[in-house]
């Protein structure tokens, strides 16, 4: 314990509180409290290393301290279950993010899934220094002590009133790389930002800066960059404690933070007890706010316990995903460009200090080196450095003229590249304005943000000529976005498999550019597998990572040549997250399809789609049959016909496909057709009368019944069922009535003449004329199920256009157009073809043209067909009884004269046949001989 180290500072602060504050008790409590916190943090026998995120000063101090102390055990504030991933970092190009992902969740609200936690790692960070040192130095153990990813979600509030981090203003438009983390929850080491909105506002206002990152850089980062270790530690602890103590009472994040501290100290003590190391050989790296913790569990000597709840049953998977500076800024609400500026400052600080940073072997510039011990700071770490730091104004760095000049020249060059009319005069103006602006803001040295303001003032005019404005150009100039990449070895098995299988196509997925692949399947059939994989990826990946430029994949269609744009290299995350679902893309697809058809909201249409997908991408007959069987079950269970059009479209395509590859339909398809036939027959009467059921749905049902009829009847269905169903249907709306007439026509229950007569009556009746367009709509829907009706529909349309008054016709036209548009593929070709056949093809023809329906029917000579068969014979034989029955039924009892026996099939029954046989006697004799009938 270092009693009295900070006594003088404590007194000074108490006095200040008494002098300035209106209520000195509270202020002095806070002020002396923060000194106490620093005191406690410094006195802990486990060395606490406070860090701040994306702080080059922290990273520098860490690199120096690790060399001085060479600890054997490092405890790091990072989710403990991410530990195995760290070794994979050496295969990646930073920044990347460690990810924990749970697709199957248990114990959490179902709408939370999938759960995802990301912890981005950048090179200019203290934690990376610690990780690189620990992993590359033999005998050093790295222990992650923070709560697991599961606990991150366990500790989240279950209601929706969760506060979110507000992004700092001035970030500009988000870049395309800014969304690389998706909607994962971000965790990071050393979150250090006031939780008290007014405090942050106050600091920004009086610091004459716009962003928190700028304030931090100016007032903490720069003064600490060259500070000795003791000063660094004390100042960071002080700031951490200040922000903590000024957090509003009851803040949820503070409560979570305290629980995390309890968790971390519990884990540290557990490990420390087991490992049997000296406290002097250990180091605890945590955010500055945690260094100033006041929880009971704080310290190696504490005995307070903390119950760590068991993990939920969720299945967590781990991997690395690429990250970028802009994603980190977007995720953690930092000012645009701040992480890039931090990275640039880190590089510069390294150059200035001559320090060699730790880098993981396997990464650029990283090779295992023996860490040479560096002598410790001459002044004891226990001395009070705070008083000096707080009482002296921050040592403002002098103007770095060369740097500013370089920036000014470069921004003008960059602006010119981007379409601005900037010149050397602008470079001079930017240089001058930067200095003037910094002067106005009490700084001797313009910050990057001052420079940015100056550049905008001098170069930005009334319009932005290109894609990027000057503000964005400045961000690019001052560091630019850096995008990380996960190396092959660190990828999940699925992604590795994809990389391997795409190699024969000549795709190098290490490149971040979009790669064009040309596949000539007729010349190189061996590439068929690669093509199928690309199609599967296209189906599975959410974004445009894989995009076909030429070529299609449809049932029964194969492309001879394909052309693809592949950008998996720059969108690795999608592929990696796919890797959490299975070992190969085929397995993932199978699982997804299975999930889809077994989900509670699955429908027959969804199942048919899954069947189609399985045929296209998987080609497994067993699996397809399984999905087909499920489709049958779903269809049987359906009580509405909303999906009928979709079901019809898909089953029609599937039946056509199967017929093209195999004469026999698979069993499931046969069952589906027969089930569907019976199912839709049953539902037809209800659908006709139900107001909720649309015309299109009824049309599609009829379409199914009529077009699948031949298959269904061949498989044992009975047409009577359909006839009865149509008879039972009593629609009330004109459109459905028209549809029923069409059905009756198809079933020969209504002749064309009858249909025409009905429609002509409608047109002739002024009372029903206004509803005529609705009948037309019904007939148009009937085009698909009853194609033979097409000439009649064309006739009706012509009549409607000719005879309906404009007041009736015009309001209906948009309806006609939208209907035709919506079902263009099925309706328009037949209609156009028929219209082409009906109407004259040239202008001259129009004058002499008479519509075919206006030409009076020339009566053809009636052919008397003698009824024959056993029934006729019976009736003739017992003519009296037949006549009595006929009279009872109200028919004319007079019977035509028939000669019994004439119906037996003799030549007399059909004079044409007899004449034909007489003309070609040889053929007739030969045929009779073949049939085994006596000539």
């Amino acid at each position: 314990m270092i009693d009295g180290t900070f006594a003088a500072l404590r007194d000074q602060l108490t006095q200040a509180a008494e002098t300035f504050a209106e209520a000195p008790d509270t202020v002095s409590e806070i002020l002396t409290g923060i000194v106490d916190d620093v005191d406690r943090g410094m006195a802990e026998r486990l060395e606490i290393f406070p860090v701040c995120h994306h702080s080059p000063a922290s990273a520098l101090a860490m690199a120096r301290r690790l060399r001085q102390k060479q600890p054997k055990v490092i405890y790091l504030e990072l989710c403990e279950d991410l530990r195995p991933l760290l070794t994979e970092l050496r295969n990646c190009r930073l920044p990347v993010a460690l990810q924990a992902f749970a697709g199957e969740i248990e114990g959490f609200p179902p709408d939370w899934g999938p759960l995802s936690v990301v912890a981005p790692i950048t090179e200019a960070s203290a934690e990376y220094q610690a990780i690189a040192y620990a992993l590359d130095t033999p005998g050093v153990e790295l222990v992650l002590v923070d709560r697991s990813a599961d606990h991150v979600f366990q500790w989240l509030p279950r209601d929706d009133s969760e506060e979110t981090t507000e992004p700092e203003a001035g970030g500009g438009d988000p870049d395309e790389d800014a969304g690389m983390h998706g909607d994962a929850v971000g965790v990071e080491i050393g979150d250090l930002r006031p939780r008290f909105r007014e405090l942050e506002g106050h600091l920004l206002h009086h610091g004459k800066v716009r962003h928190w990152s700028e304030w931090w850089d100016l007032y903490v980062e720069q003064p600490l960059a060259g500070a000795d270790y003791a000063t660094y530690r004390q100042v960071m602890m002080l700031i951490g404690s200040l922000f903590r103590r000024l957090t509003p009472v009851g803040d949820r994040r503070l409560r979570t933070d305290e629980d995390r501290e309890r968790y971390m100290w519990t884990r540290i003590r557990e490990h420390f007890g087991k490992a049997g190391v000296e406290a002097d050989d250990c180091m605890y790296v945590c955010g500055a706010a945690h260094a100033a913790s006041r929880v009971e569990q704080f310290g190696l000597d504490s005995t307070a316990g903390f119950d760590i709840t068991p993990p939920s049953g969720s299945n967590w998977l781990y991997g690395l995903i690429p990250s970028s500076h802009s994603s980190i800024e977007a995720q953690f609400g930092l000012a645009g460009g701040s992480v890039s500026i931090a990275a640039a400052s880190w590089e510069k600080a390294l150059k200035a200090s001559g320090l060699t940073p730790f880098r993981l072997s396997g990464q650029k510039g990283g090779k295992p080196r023996k860490v040479k011990p560096v002598p410790a700071d001459p002044v004891s770490g226990d001395a009070n450095r705070l008083s000096g730091f707080l009482s002296t104004p921050p040592a403002t760095r002098e103007l770095d003229e060369a740097e500013l000049l370089a920036w000014s020249v470069d921004i003008v060059r960059l602006a010119r590249k981007n379409g601005y009319l900037s010149s050397t005069a602008d470079a001079i103006a930017v240089f001058e304005t930067s200095i003037l602006l910094a002067g106005m803001r009490n700084r001797a040295r313009p910050t990057p943000y001052d420079f940015q303001d100056a550049a905008v003032t001098c170069i930005e005019k009334d319009t932005v000529p290109g894609r990027r404005d000057v503000r964005r150009l400045c961000e690019i100039l001052l560091g630019g976005d850096r995008v990380g990449q996960v190396g092959y070895e660190a990828l999940p098995p699925l992604a590795q498999d994809v990389y391997d299988r795409l190699k024969p196509l000549g795709i190098d997925l290490r490149k971040r550019t979009v790669q064009r692949v040309l596949i000539d399947l007729s010349a190189e059939p061996q590439k068929r597998q690669g093509s199928r994989l690309l199609w599967t990826l296209r189906h599975l990946l959410p974004s445009d990572s894989v995009r076909p430029i030429m070529g299609v994949k449809k049932l029964g269609e194969e492309s001879l040549q394909e052309s693809w744009d592949v950008s998996i290299g720059s969108r690795q995350r999608d592929l990696i997250e796919l890797g959490y679902e299975g070992v190969t893309v085929e397995q993932v697809l199978e699982q997804r399809l299975r999930r889809k058809v077994w989900s509670p909201d699955a429908t027959a249409a969804i199942a048919l789609r899954a069947v189609e997908d399985s045929i296209l991408y998987l080609g497994s007959r067993r699996f397809t049959n399984e999905l087909g069987a499920r489709a049958i079950d779903l269809l049987k269970a359906e009580r509405t016909v909303d999906d009928a059009p979709e079901v019809l479209r898909r089953i029609r395509a599937l039946v056509a496909y199967y017929r093209s590859v195999d004469p026999k339909l698979p069993e499931w398809a046969e069952t589906f057709v027969t089930t569907g036939y019976a199912h839709y027959c049953t539902l037809l009467p209800t659908a006709f009368t139900d107001e909720q059921t649309g015309l299109r749905q009824v049309g599609a049902m009829l379409g199914f019944l009529f077009t699948m009829e031949s298959v269904a009847i061949a498989l044992g269905c009975d047409r009577t069922q359909l006839e009865l169903a149509v008879k039972q249907s009593h629609p009330e709306t004109p459109a459905k009535l028209a549809l029923r007439w069409a059905a009756q026509f198809q079933l020969s229950q209504l002749p064309m003449s009858g249909l025409r007569e009905r429609c002509d009556d409608l047109l002739g009746n002024p009372l029903v004329l206004p509803s005529f367009p609705q009948y037309l709509s019904g007939f148009i829907q009937a085009l698909d199920p009853v194609p033979t009706l097409t000439p009649f529909v064309v006739e009706l349309l012509s009549k409607a256009f000719g005879r309906l008054p404009d007041t009736v016709l015009l309001p209906w036209l948009p309806n006609l157009i939208t209907t035709l548009r919506a079902n263009a593929a099925e309706l328009v070709p037949v209609l156009v073809r028929e219209a082409g056949r009906t109407f004259p093809g040239n202008l001259a023809g129009v004058d002499t043209w008479t519509p075919p329906w206006s030409i009076p029917d020339t009566p053809r000579e009636a052919v008397t067909v003698a009824p024959s068969g056993p029934v006729t014979e019976l009736a003739v034989r017992h003519s009296t009884a037949a006549q009595a029955i006929a009279a009872a039924l109200g028919h004319d009892p007079a019977m035509p004269e028939f000669t019994p026996g004439a119906a037996g099939g003799s030549a007399d029954a059909a004079p044409e046949v007899a004449a034909l046989v007489a003309r070609h006697p040889d053929s007739a004799t030969a045929t009779a001989a073949v049939l085994g009938v006596a000539g």
Partner: protein
């Protein structure tokens, strides 16, 4: 001073400027009367942390960086072009800057389609030329030339309203910093003294009418002033300007805070609607700037004072709002009608307060105009 309907900023704040000058010990560029930091303080007001004996009120409301960028531009050798929608306070900022820097904000050229090069350079007193011939005495210097001679700030309002050839007369003034008078044999060059600069304003709605040439653009630093969308700043501006207005008209009238809220809220709604509009017909012709809000309020106040019972009512406010914003018939009226029925009506049912009155007033005004 009491004789003036509207005193320029340097007269209105003369005493404050004197005081600031007396305590200013910062470095001053050229012949500036105040140092840049003091200019900023004059415009943006003082805070406790500035440690001044008296409070300096805030006169222009907006992002601090705009003011800072404007000041440093004037301290460099480039002209300042304030660009923005009508009513965003460009001219007011220009006036305050000139008043603070050189105590003279009245050297103004107003750009119009009829502005000629003479208005920028010089013209001649024809009678004197006939009597005495061309000489410096018979020459009438333009405000810009006067500013050059005195080493102060000259202002050019609505630069983009004047034609391109007139605008280009500024190029040589801004680069060479002198104007030659070829008509005279001697003493024929007017050199700008240190401290001379130009503040021009341009309306972004006029874009494309008379675009600035690249050469002129290069000589100006552009500072774009956005429409104030921050509710707090906007309330401050409206309150500040209204008080000034009431004082000027010597009107004793109270502006109830809830009516101020209604005004701000309705403008915020209309702006949101304009932002989501897909064509010009779907949005009001007005830029819905803060100045328009002040205009609406002023109109309502004057109406209540002279034709009402000296109490500002929501219905009067709604009438003024419709009257000021409905410029095109039927487009603007249709938008306002939609706003009243789609937004105000549900709100007046839900929130009550002054909203039903506001709705009724608006309806009546639309009915009168339709």
């Amino acid at each position: 001073m009491n004789e003036m309907l509207r005193a320029p900023a340097e007269v209105k704040y003369a005493e404050e400027l004197e005081w600031l000058e007396s305590i200013d010990d910062g470095p001053k560029p050229f012949t500036w009367r105040l140092s840049p930091r003091m200019v900023r303080l004059f415009i943006l007001g003082s805070e406790r942390s500035d440690g001044l004996d008296r409070e300096v009120s805030q006169k222009w409301f907006g992002d601090r960086s705009f003011v800072e960028r404007s000041i440093v531009t004037l301290a460099s050798d480039r002209g300042l072009l304030l660009i923005g929608d009508p009513g965003t306070g460009k001219s007011w900022l220009a006036e305050l800057l000139s008043a603070a820097i050189c105590r003279n904000s009245t050297l103004v050229v107003q750009g119009t389609a009829g502005t000629t090069e003479d208005h920028i350079k010089y013209s001649w007193n024809v009678s004197m030329v006939i009597a005495k011939g061309q000489s410096r005495d018979s020459m009438i210097p333009s405000p810009i030339m006067t500013a050059m001679e005195a080493g102060v700030i000259g202002r050019f309002e609505e630069l983009t309203r004047s034609t391109s050839d007139v605008q280009d007369a500024l190029i040589s003034i801004l680069s060479e910093k002198y104007v030659s008078i070829p008509e005279l044999d001697d003493d024929n060059i007017v050199f700008a003294k240190p401290g001379f600069s130009i503040i021009a304003t341009a309306n972004s709605r006029d874009k494309g009418v008379n675009d600035l040439s690249s050469a002129l653009k290069r000589r100006f630093n552009f500072v774009r002033i956005p429409v104030v969308s921050n509710k707090k700043s906007e309330t401050e501006i409206v309150r500040f300007r209204t008080e000034e207005l009431l004082r000027r008209h010597r009107i004793e009238l109270d502006v109830p805070p809830n009516l101020l809220d209604i005004l701000l809220q309705s403008f915020a709604d209309l702006r949101a609607a304009a932002a989501s509009a897909t064509s010009d017909d779907d949005k009001l012709e007005s830029a819905l700037s803060t100045a328009e809000q002040i205009g609406v309020l002023e109109d309502a106040i004057l109406h209540s004072n002279f034709f009402g019972d000296s109490t500002l009512r929501a219905a009067t406010l709604a009438g003024s709002l419709v009257g000021s914003l409905a410029r095109r018939s039927p487009e603007d009226l249709a938008i306002l009608n939609k706003y009243l029925h789609g937004v105000v009506e549900p709100r007046s049912k839900k929130d009550g307060g002054e909203w039903p009155d506001f709705l009724e007033g608006g309806r009546q005004a639309i009915a009168t105009l339709s």
